[in-house]
Amino acid sequence: MSIEPILTFRHDNAVYSVAFSSDGKLLASGSLDKTIGVWELPSGNQKVRLKGHREAVCTVVFQNDNSLLLSASLDKTLRTWNLESGELKSSLSGHQAYLTCMAASADETLAVTGSHDKELLLWDTESSRQVAVLQGHTDLVSCVAWSPDGKLVASGGLDLVIRIWDVESRRQVMEIGPHPKPLQSIAFSPDGRKLVASDESPVVRVWNFKSGKVERTFEGHEHSVKTVAFSDDGRQLASGGADSRIIVRAFTTGRIEHRLEGHRNTIYGIAWSADGQRLASASFDRTVRVWQLSAETP
């Protein structure tokens, strides 16, 4: 299948994160320009530009039937925005250094943030309060992921190991690795059986996190892989790298199905629409691109 870019959105600085609403009608992007763009699909019109963060926005997540947006920023805050009014609903803080990553549980009750202070913070987003501090990393944290069943959190960073945390007990239950280079991104497969991680190398590693061993590796990028994302059905894995390229492959076989060219700088964020028909990418080239799966074979 061919994939063509259908929309391009622009920020005034690098774009770090992107997310589709569950109904596919909205796209949100977080940028180094400190703003969050919320765009209407398929028109491409800007619905709202959320301003208030004092530093780069590293992660955005739609919540509450797409009426709210959760954003995490290097300014050490986790904020909730009302998308209809564009107003800030809540702002939580607790990290002592740059907050660099965030993931929300599938049931939208909890969020986890990672930071340069080497800690993870667990948040109850319904009651807007911090509920736990997860300590164990020996260097800054750069990526976090939530297991599909909501029971586990995975995190990684400069200490080269992936740490698996049990959410209920708030304790680390496993350590996977080490990776040869600092971790950049982590994602659980939708069936919860595999953990995919990328680091400063061009290689993507697939871990069987129960055994703690690498099952396979994916190659194809020329420089470090900054972001990985599964399609909701788990069939495809997209990766974006410092080579300005997005690779979409069939996860089971590893076969490369598409190489998306067009960005002029590192890809920092990738998101799939829920129906698996569109991919959005966020890049250091200050743009967000939406790629449409075509029904036509090349």
């Binding site: 005034d12 600085n13 690098a14 180094l32 320009d33 530093e55 780069a56 590293c58 290097l74 740059y98 660099t100 340069h116 750069s142 400069l158 600092p182 400063e200 420089h223 470090s224 410092a242 300005s244 002029r264 700088n265 590192t266 250091f284 080239d285 200050r286």
Partner: protein, 452 residues
């Protein structure tokens, strides 16, 4: 607030004279200065005077990722970029500089710039001297020194113009101090806060249709002020405001909307948003175009800052993310400037220097960045009649230090002064004690013989 009324001048500090023109804040319903002066005919094109355009790459550019690549070094040193050949045999540059690679015959590359103080500041690039142990009054910046020694090309254009905006990083923000050259020689800071607030209020275009009357008022005003030394007594900001008000040539030069659209596109636009995470200036290609226009208008020294090159790594992008963002912009803007100067016959009289306060660490840090490296850096030079198409100096295999022909900042300044016709072995400016000070330490540093 500077008010001009009737045939006199009223200063808001209490000089009691009537005024017709009130220069005040925007929003009072008056015409903006560019609008008012837009009707003036273009005054003069090209210039036979010597000039320098200095581009300050704020924050310290990575020499090993731009003009001194080490493709054989270990990956943790050489980084992500590959060299490409230029149009001069034996000179390779970064793959993200394809336009400049095709103009290398017009450039001289210094790969062994040494003598950095190691401070995050534009000071050394603007003054040539270290910040410590300054003579009484402080060293004048390059533009102020030139202003003192050579004076204006015409009455309407300051000798030295700085295009640097105010930045969060204070050390980067300075346009250059006048030092013991005197306040009147301070560079005009075109993008300083307030510089754009010159609005003529209480007047309409119809009212000002009699251009001759207006200009006559200005001339009368100038004569009065000159006679009473009132201009000298003005706060330098108001002096500059006065100059901008009465100088159509300067305002026109600063207004790129007036430029041929095709020329504008060649330079590229850029943005006025602070580059990087906000403590530096902007990445605005059009400043290069403004610099050319200012030279044509009579400026002898134009300085501009370009981007934010202090790339320590995540979480604000790796050194290479930022380089992929900035280097192509520099490639386009500088190439356009070189072409533009050449096409207008200004290249032999206009020297261009591109540099920053230091280089960057040879080994990439764990966050994908490079840190400060005052041991060696780089510079690009063009124009001014220098011998181009060459590299001066060499570093070791990891770009850590100069191994051959280290070039000091003051040698570059000596070369620039020489290009302007200033003899550094003779020219002096008295400091505040009356002691004559040479512009550079001329006993140690002379114009680069490889270039002149």
């Amino acid at each position: 607030m500077l008010t001009i009324q009737g045939s006199g001048l009223k200063l808001c500090d209490g000089v009691a004279r009537r005024s017709v023109l009130k220069i005040g804040a925007l929003g009072l319903g008056g015409l903006s200065l560019p609008q008012l002066l837009q009707a003036e005919s273009a005054a003069g094109t090209g210039s036979s005077h010597k000039s320098v355009i200095m581009v300050f790459l704020t924050g310290g550019p990575p020499h090993q990722d731009m003009v001194d690549l080490k493709p054989d070094a270990p990956v943790e040193y050489r980084g992500e970029f590959s060299p490409i050949r230029s149009n001069v045999a034996g000179i390779d540059v970064c793959e993200h500089m394809p336009l400049l690679a095709q103009r290398m015959d017009q450039l001289a590359v210094i790969r062994s710039l040494v003598g950095s103080e190691g401070r995050h500041s534009a000071y050394q690039c603007l003054h040539g001297h270290p910040t410590l142990k300054q003579p009484p009054g402080g060293w004048p910046c390059f533009g102020a020194a030139v202003s003192k020694l050579q004076g204006q090309v015409n009455e309407e254009t300051p000798v030295a113009v700085s295009l640097q905006p105010r930045m969060g990083g204070a050390g980067w923000s300075q346009p250059g101090q006048p030092g013991f050259a005197g306040m009147r020689h301070a560079p005009f800071a075109a993008n300083a806060p307030g510089a754009n607030d010159m609005v003529l209020t209480g007047m309409t275009q119809q009212t000002l249709a009699d251009r001759r009357t207006l200009l006559g008022s200005m001339e009368s005003l100038r004569r009065q002020l000159s006679a009473t030394d009132a201009i000298d007594g003005m706060d330098s900001f108001y002096r500059q405001a006065f100059e901008i008000l009465t100088s159509g040539k300067l305002v026109k030069a600063l207004d790129v909307d007036d430029e041929d659209p095709a020329i504008r596109e060649r330079y590229g636009r850029g943005s006025k948003e602070p580059a990087g995470y906000g403590d530096a200036g902007w990445l605005r290609n059009e400043d290069f175009l403004v610099a050319r226009r200012l030279v044509e208008a009579g400026a002898r020294v134009v300085t501009l800052s370009f981007g934010r090159w202090d790339w320590h790594g995540q979480p604000h992008g790796t050194n290479f993310d930022n380089a992929r963002d900035h280097i192509p912009a520099l490639d386009q803007a500088l190439s356009a400037l070189l072409d533009d100067l050449k096409e207008r016959g200004l290249d032999r009289d206009t020297s261009v220097v591109v540099w920053g306060e230091f280089g960057r660490t040879p080994k990439i840090n764990k966050k994908g960045g490079r840190d400060h490296w005052p041991q060696v850096g780089c510079a690009l030079l063009a124009g001014g009649g220098i011998r181009t198409g060459q590299v001066i100096g060499e570093t070791n295999e990891l770009a850590e230090y100069a191994t051959r022909r280290p070039v000091h900042f003051q040698e570059v300044f000596a070369t620039l002064y020489r290009n302007l016709g200033i003899d550094i072995d003779r020219a002096t400016i008295e400091d505040l004690t009356g002691r004559p000070q040479y512009l550079v330490d001329h006993a140690k540093y002379q114009p680069l013989p490889e270039l002149v």
